[in-house]
């Protein structure tokens, strides 16, 4: 459509769309909470308006068309013709969702209207109670065309045209310049102009800012009247314009002065000269210094300045900083071995280097950190959709949306979070009737919050529903053979049954959160991010799912251990506690199985050395250490390790590119002394070695 189609511009348009959509969602959220001001509505309007404007430039017609309808309705809200009632806001939010879909479709080059758009349009139209005008571009003042043709033969096309141009007195105020209009007309053909000075007042009465002149123009042209009118487009509301055809007959020569004559004598031309600004030299100087200031000066406006950087570059930098930290640690170790006097320059310098490296690392990590807000906004939509699908009324409250998390973590958290949000609406909240009976407001609340807590990110999904029906959960688990009917389970243990593979608490898989995917999948997705999920539920009051995540995927707090002469790292987040074997209560089960009694339960013992094929499990565990690891509240395991060396931050180096996925190994790292250590993945070890995820539960039942 337009000659501008550079990919860069498109990218920048879509990036801006994201920001505008975010601003729009923010605005709606404010309106829903009732805390909005007039400016909120304006901002939402502008966001939709800007999307429409940009989309028009790129020819995304479906997007423009819908944005136009949406904008028209928002304009009514803006002008106060429309109340921001609950229904209206719901509709607007759905329209916002649709708009976001259209933007995505345009980005994916899948232009064209999307399903549901027509219905929304109709709803919008009926909301504002009128058929939107398709064409409102007609000028207020439609000049009357007088046919002054003496010969009586009106003619299209080539011929002589007579134009009467009678500007209003304030023409100059809008900086429209008749001489320029005439110049444009000259491009259409031979022009002759005659100024009518009869209305020019005496000098003492003359207001130099007013236009007192009228013109009678003669134009010989091949162009249509439309072309001529187009020249007067900007002044048509500020003048009387009469255009008439004189037929093919030529103008009488000498009847009208030439354009040049006219300009040179016309008072408004001298007006131009009079109002001519200060001496050019001064202006030039001023301009120059201004330009200088602009090019080197601070970013324009109050908006935060940003640059776009390839993610690859950032990741490379993160990797290099990781190396730097490792090298620094290696250097520290070598210097420590030199046994220098405690007060020496090298150690002092090294200490500041260490601090610097740490700061650089933090700074670089911060580049990848992004607020969870866009993700939360996506969840607002999920809640709306889920509410509609289940016929429930749900309000989503978000907290801590400026909490920053690694970009990759956010991206990979979307699926599990979506699932848990749907779960909260579908299974967590009761139906409006049930809520009324329970004396609760019909509208359920889901709170989605994010916060930094002791070096990790906590994301909580809370509903104020009926809480987990433990009796029912237990029955289902029993009927599916996931738990023995005799088992003595605590409330927490029952709650955690929800995470068992193959568990679905609704008898019928609902269309919404069912989809053949259980909470177990959501949980394992979180776990691959180094996160954990836990549940807390109070009958009648609601359920909270908590996701705890690392701040970044690039470094990790790990425990450095030794097994069969190998150094390995266990993620600290997986470790509950460590036990000395000689004080631990160890029982044998069967020929080879061994369990350890810990906190009222029997936990299977797994030897890391055997798991990795480094040795056979020693009979005598004396002198070894048991690391109690957990993947969630029901699955525990005790890992036999030979010694614990250290607890430290390690830089995670992925092995997958070169080795693919190795069971039991999450990644590798380089230790301070340059040795390479595997970072073990307790989850997969427990899965593979212990068998079913609920193994220790079964063991406990066997007791």
């Amino acid at each position: 459509m337009s000659s501008v189609s550079s990919d860069d511009f498109r990218d920048s348009f879509f990036q801006e769309c994201e920001e505008l959509l975010e601003a729009m969602q923010d605005g709606f959220a404010l309106m829903v909470s009732g805390a909005h001001e007039a400016e909120t509505v304006h901002a939402v309007f502008r966001a939709v308006h800007s999307i429409k404007g940009g989309a028009g430039a790129f020819g995304f017609d479906a997007l423009v068309a819908f944005a136009h309808h949406f904008e028209t309705a928002l304009d009514k809200l803006r002008s106060g013709d429309l109340e921001a009632g609950e229904e209206t806001l719901m509709l607007f939010q759905r329209c916002g969702d649709h708009l976001a879909d259209l933007v995505s479709a345009a980005r994916d080059e899948a232009g064209g209207p999307l399903p549901g758009g027509e219905e929304l349009r109709e709803e919008l139209d009926s909301l504002i109670g009128e058929q939107p005008q398709e064409e409102e571009g007609l000028p207020a003042f439609e000049p009357v065309v007088l046919d002054l043709d003496a010969m009586g033969e009106a003619q299209e096309g080539p011929g002589s045209i007579s134009i009467l141009f009678e500007p209003e007195a304030d023409l100059f105020r809008s900086n429209n310049e008749p001489a320029l209009l005439f110049r444009s007309l000259e491009r259409l053909g031979r022009l002759e102009a005659r100024a009518d000075l009869s209305r020019v007042p005496l000098l003492e009465d003359l207001d130099p800012e007013q236009c007192h002149i009228q013109w009678q123009l003669g134009l010989e042209t091949e162009e249509s009247e439309g072309e001529i009118r187009a020249v007067f487009e900007f002044v048509e509301d500020a003048c009387r314009l009469e255009i008439s055809s004189l037929g093919a007959a030529g103008l009488e020569d000498g009847d009208l002065p030439s354009l040049e004559d006219l300009i040179s004598v016309s008072p408004e031309a001298s007006l131009l000269a009079e109002t001519a600004p200060p001496p050019p030299a001064q202006t030039a100087e001023k301009t120059e210094s201004a330009t200088e200031k602009t090019s080197g000066g601070p970013p324009r406006g109050a908006a935060t300045a940003t640059i776009r950087v390839d993610l690859d570059r950032v990741d490379k930098l993160i990797n290099l900083v990781g190396e730097l930290v490792i090298k620094e640690a290696m250097l520290s170790q070598s210097i420590a071995q030199l046994e220098l006097p405690s007060e020496n320059e090298v150690s002092g310098g090294l200490e500041s280097l260490k601090q610097l490296a740490g700061e650089i690392q933090e700074g670089v990590m911060a580049i990848r950190a992004q607020p969870v807000k866009p993700m939360f906004q996506r969840m607002a939509r999920i809640v709306r959709e889920a509410a509609t699908a289940t016929g429930k009324r749900v309000r989503l409250v978000t907290q801590g949306e400026h909490t920053e998390v690694d970009k990759t973590v956010i991206e990979r958290l979307i699926d599990p979070l979506t699932h848990m949000i749907r779960n909260a609406v579908d299974h967590g909240l009761e139906s409006p009737e049930a809520r009324r009976e329970a004396g609760k407001p019909e509208e359920g609340t889901v709170i989605l919050s994010a916060a930094h807590r002791s070096g990790r990110v906590m994301i909580d999904i809370s509903d104020d529903g009926g809480g987990i029906n433990r009796e029912k959960v237990r029955k289902i688990a029993e009927s599916k053979g996931l738990v023995s009917p005799e088992a003595d389970l605590s409330a927490v243990e029952i709650d955690n049954l929800l995470f068992l593979p193959g568990f679905s608490s609704k008898e019928q898989v609902s269309e919404l959160s069912g989809r053949g995917v259980g909470l177990d999948v959501a949980r394992s997705e979180v776990q691959t991010l180094g996160g954990r999920v836990s549940i807390a539920s109070t009958p009648g009051e609601g359920t909270t799912f908590s996701i705890s995540l690392p701040l970044t995927l690039a470094v990790m707090e790990g425990m450095v251990i030794e097994v069969a002469g190998q150094t390995m790292v266990v993620p600290i987040t997986a470790i509950q506690e460590s036990l000395q074997t000689r004080t631990a209560e160890i029982h044998s089960i069967g020929a080879t199985g061994r369990v350890v009694a810990n906190r009222e339960r029997l936990v299977p013992i797994v030897d890391l050395g055997e798991t990795f094929g480094l040795r056979r499990t020693p009979q005598n565990l004396d002198g070894h250490v048991l690391l109690m690891v957990e993947t969630d509240s029901t699955t525990h395991c005790a890992l036999i390790v030979d010694a614990i060396q250290d607890q430290r931050q390690v830089v995670i180096k992925s092995l997958e590119t070169n080795y693919g996925h190795v069971h039991g190994v999450a990644a590798a790292t380089i230790l301070g002394d340059g040795r390479i250590a595997l970072i073990i993945d307790p989850d997969s070890i427990i899965r593979d070695t212990v068998g079913a995820a609920g193994a220790d539960l079964q063991l406990q039942l066997a007791r």
Binding site: S2, V4, F9, A43, H49, L138, L180, V231, T283
Partner: protein, 126 residues
């Protein structure tokens, strides 16, 4: 000497498009994000032609035009409104504020340049 244009638009996309189009046409372009920003730019350097959007935060197009006309009374500085709005009452308001012309988006490079050439007085403003 090439024409100096100040384009005021809150949409980065529009600013990019305008800037590219005008640059190609050989104009010197300065950009501003809203009316207030526009007035700041004017304090630095006066252009030959101003192009402005209507719907903008802080100071909208109408307010911007009114201010320009008030602050720079003695200047010939044509102001073209570039907007998706086409309602007659808005046009009238813009004219009342002192706008020179009105161009309705979608953005059309040729239309924009033609409009500038129609209103610009080379060297007339400075």
């Amino acid at each position: 000497m090439s024409l100096k244009i100040l384009a005021v638009d809150d949409s980065r996309t529009m600013r990019n498009l305008i800037s590219a189009a005008l640059g190609r046409a050989g104009f010197e372009v300065d950009l501003a994000e809203d009316g207030e920003d526009g007035l700041r730019r004017l304090a630095d350097a006066l252009p030959d032609v101003i192009i402005t959007d209507i719907n903008m935060p802080r100071l909208d197009g109408f307010g911007f035009i009114e201010n320009v006309r008030k602050l720079y009374r003695d200047r010939i500085m044509p102001i073209l409104v570039l907007t998706t709005e086409s309602a007659p009452d808005l046009k009238a308001r813009a004219r009342e504020a002192g706008a020179t012309g009105w161009i309705v988006k979608p953005f059309d490079e040729e239309k924009l340049i033609w409009a500038i050439e129609r209103v610009a007085i080379p060297g007339g403003g400075t």
